[in-house]
């Protein structure tokens, strides 16, 4: 896969490249938005970052020489998200997994009341994971990526994808089993 970080990129594609871009890349807009939405945990931020990532991919497109376009694109999205998170100093997002920091918002009576709603419950649980775990779950379970694709997108070796995914799933199971998380973290 071509590395999106290499190459200067061009501001405008010729018309043929433009159509190629629109045929190959644009259909993955949902995947772009979905990954950004889960990494940033906000629809509005995701919309901005997805747009920025798409425009970056447009500039880098001449450097894309075939292969898995979705993985190439999601790599750009992921980098854009991490850069944004770093810049915006979302401490929660950048620190390693810490149960105290990641106490999910579902401890109030109101949120306990809606905990019966599975979608809400899973959303909270998934959002309570640190981004490195969250992203592998999103890529594997929601986006249906193979280990090889996840490795390419996240720039980590396949062996590490496997172990990260197994840890991420364990955390997710714990977050679901113990929404308050007070009991959970001692067992980890």
């Amino acid at each position: 896969m071509s590395n999106p970080v290499q190459g200067k990129g061009s501001d405008v594609l010729d018309s043929q490249e433009q159509v190629r871009f629109e045929t190959l890349v644009l259909p993955h807009l949902d995947a772009v938005y979905n990954l950004a939405r889960w990494l940033l945990r906000s629809g509005a931020d995701a919309e901005d970052i997805a747009q920025e990532a798409m425009l970056r991919s447009y500039r880098f497109f001449p450097g894309f020489h075939g292969g898995d376009v979705r993985a190439w694109l999601l790599q750009i999205v992921r980098n854009t998200c991490y850069t944004w998170m770093e810049k915006n100093r979302r401490e929660n997002d950048m620190t390693e997994f810490d149960e105290e920091l990641h106490a999910p918002p579902s401890t109030s009576p109101e949120s306990l009341a809606i905990a019966g709603d599975d979608r809400q419950r899973l959303t909270h649980a998934l959002e309570s994971l640190p981004p490195r775990y969250r992203e592998v779950i999103v890529l594997r379970e929601l986006e249906g990526c193979s280990y090889k694709e996840i490795a390419a997108i996240t720039s980590i070796p396949i062996g590490t994808v496997m172990s990260t995914l197994s840890r991420a799933r364990r955390h997710l199971q714990l977050a679901l089993a113990h929404p308050s998380r007070k009991e959970a973290h001692h067992e980890l």
């Binding site: 405008v12 629109e22 045929t23 259909p27 425009l55 280990y147 172990s163 197994s166």
Partner: protein, 249 residues
């Protein structure tokens, strides 16, 4: 998990990432390892609750729209080849041009209804197609060649018809992108003019033809039997109307 197999193998098995031999070995192991069997069951139920919760977040239509406007405002620009003093001026001019056209595109489209927006995108697509080498992906005057060409490239079967006898000669087809989705574009020749007919499926009810013109191009857009059509050309409005009626017959 305390099973000495380590749970990476379990996850790789669960994700269909083991080769046939590895999977068979792990299945044999599963027969006597209650621990792994239980863990596998838990993974399955985790996946089914994730699926049931439909967590996938699709891109909002507004994002798609913004992007298309942005992408279409960056039309190819002739940049003066690098002579240092001029370079920055050229870049600045290019940025200004993009900003101005972008602004015009946005302001001219803002407030327009859905059909007008679609028609504007169809005109852009038609204009792009007129650039050298990009008119048709499949060149044929035979509808029985053009129609099968779309198979497997689209998630719908576009109605491909030749109207040569009525003065609209089918010239070929291509894939194009309008409103963020890949659609069929059919190309017809009318005397010396070209007509693009864009077709894509819709869930909206049938709608009578609406016509308009922009940048010297005529368009007619309508919906019939689950398909949305938009024809674009610089032919006379009456000619375009004739093609519209031919399609609707």
């Amino acid at each position: 998990m305390s099973c000495e197999r380590g749970d990476s193998v379990l996850h790789a098995y669960f994700d269909n990432e083991l080769d046939a031999q590895g999977a068979a070995e792990f299945e044999r192991h599963l027969e006597h390892c209650a621990e792994c069997a239980e863990a596998l069951g838990n993974l399955k139920s985790l996946r089914s609750s994730l699926n049931a919760a439909r967590l996938y977040q699709k891109a909002p239509a507004s994002l798609r729209q913004k992007l298309l406007v942005e992408l279409h405002s960056t039309k190819p620009i002739q940049v003066v080849p690098a002579r240092k003093p001029w370079r920055w001026l050229a870049i600045a001019a290019a940025i200004l041009l993009v900003a101005i056209t972008g602004w015009q595109v946005i302001s001219s489209r803002r407030g327009g209804d859905q059909e007008t927006v679609l028609a504007a995108e169809a005109i852009d697509a038609h204009l792009r197609s007129l650039q050298p080498g990009h008119l048709t992906d499949v060149i044929s005057t035979d509808q029985h060649t053009v129609k099968p060409w779309f198979d497997g490239k689209l998630d719908f079967a576009p109605p491909v018809r030749d109207f040569a006898e009525q003065g609209f000669q089918l010239q070929g087809g291509r894939l194009d992108v309008v409103h963020g989705r890949t659609i069929a574009a059919l190309v017809y020749g009318r005397r010396k003019h070209l007509v693009s007919a864009f077709v894509w499926p819709t869930i909206e009810p049938d709608a009578a033809p609406r016509a308009g013109s922009e940048q010297g191009y005529q368009w007619i857009i309508w919906r019939k039997a689950g398909m949305e059509f938009c024809v674009v050309s610089d032919v006379a409005p009456a000619d375009l109307g004739q093609l519209q009626r031919l399609f609707s017959e």
